[in-house]
């Protein structure tokens, strides 16, 4: 069995060769050594402190979309809180003006003025305003 060229008719290749215990042991050891070398390299790489530009290189692609998403979320939250503040201020102003109307009417206004202050003026505008809103 010394042919270096493959010959399918060579009888030596018709059946499997006998197992070789020494080769087997050395090949198994070599495979384990390779496995350990790969794991060790990975560990050593992890142990090396990463400089700032390393982090940028590693996470650079994720930083931009994360930043954009964070900015959008912040804008939505900010917008909502500004609107809530404005609503609260408007509501406060409306209720304080109602109280002062009532005080003024009770202090010396006519009966119609007191009624207007308590239940609202005699008009259908508030209904239209409710429907439009």
């Amino acid at each position: 069995m010394h042919d270096d060229e493959f010959d399918a008719t060579n009888p030596a290749f018709r059946s499997d060769p006998a197992p070789d215990a020494m080769l087997r042991t050395l090949l198994r050891d070599e495979r384990l050594r390779e496995r350990i070398a790969v794991a060790a390299r990975r560990r050593l790489l992890r142990a090396v402190p990463t400089p700032w530009y390393g982090w940028v290189a590693r996470y650079g692609r994720a930083i931009v979309p994360i930043g954009v998403a964070a900015a959008l979320i912040a804008a939505v939250i900010l917008n909502r809180s500004v609107r809530n503040d404005a609503d609260a201020m408007a509501q406060g102003a409306a209720s304080s003006s109602g109280v002062s109307d009532l005080k003024r009417a009770v202090a010396g206004g006519s009966r119609a003025a007191v009624t207007d202050a308590v239940v609202g003026p005699d008009s259908t505008e508030f209904l239209i305003a409710m429907v439009v809103r």
Partner: protein
């Protein structure tokens, strides 16, 4: 009979390898693994009684040794320190499995570890063997691993790789020939 100068050279070489591995040189750590792998496998297999478990234990022990290298006193030799680590890990593993065992005859560094002379020859031959294996065409490497290590038959490998069984055996023949050439000094 061991030559004292050669032993000293080997010790000095190992101390240098430990120093380089400690500084994060993967090649130096690989050289340490190559030196102690055969002895570690014998010790682990004797302890656990199973080759696959022994391989896992040896891998675990080497990786822990790598983590703990900074704790190793530079004046202490790596071998006995590593074998103590291996032994302790193996015993912990046996305890975790709750296997009833009597304290096994644990090979201490002196008995299981090949003598430095043998180790040197062994390491040298192993290095040549590793180089020959790395130089094999990928297909031949795969075939020799499947046949000689995993115990596949020629027909099974042929089916797996889409070759004829005769072609697989030819590749196997070529691969074994290259590897045996690397082992020639050992067989003389």
């Amino acid at each position: 009979m061991r030559e004292p100068t050669r032993e000293l050279a080997s010790d000095a070489e190992e101390t240098a390898l430990v120093g380089r591995a400690r500084r994060g040189d993967p090649a130096a750590f690989d050289a340490l693994v190559r030196r102690h792998l055969p002895g570690a496998l014998v010790a682990a297999e004797r302890l656990l009684g199973d080759r696959t478990d022994a391989e896992d234990l040896v891998q675990d022990a080497f990786l822990r040794a790598l983590d703990r290298l900074p704790l190793l006193d530079p004046d202490r030799p790596f071998g006995p320190w590593f074998f103590t680590l291996l032994r302790n890990l193996g015993i912990n593993q046996l305890r975790a499995r709750k296997v009833r065992y009597t304290e096994p005859e644990l090979p201490d560094a002196a008995s299981s570890d090949p003598l430095p002379d043998e180790q040197m020859v062994n390491t040298e031959v192993r290095e040549r063997f590793a180089a020959a294996l790395a130089a094999l065409p990928p297909r031949q490497k795969e075939i020799v691993m499947l046949f000689d290590v995993d115990g596949w038959k020629g027909v099974e490998i042929a089916e797996h790789l889409g070759l004829t069984p005769e072609n697989v055996r030819w590749h196997l023949h070529q691969a074994r020939k290259s590897l045996r050439t690397a082992l020639a000094p050992l067989q003389d």
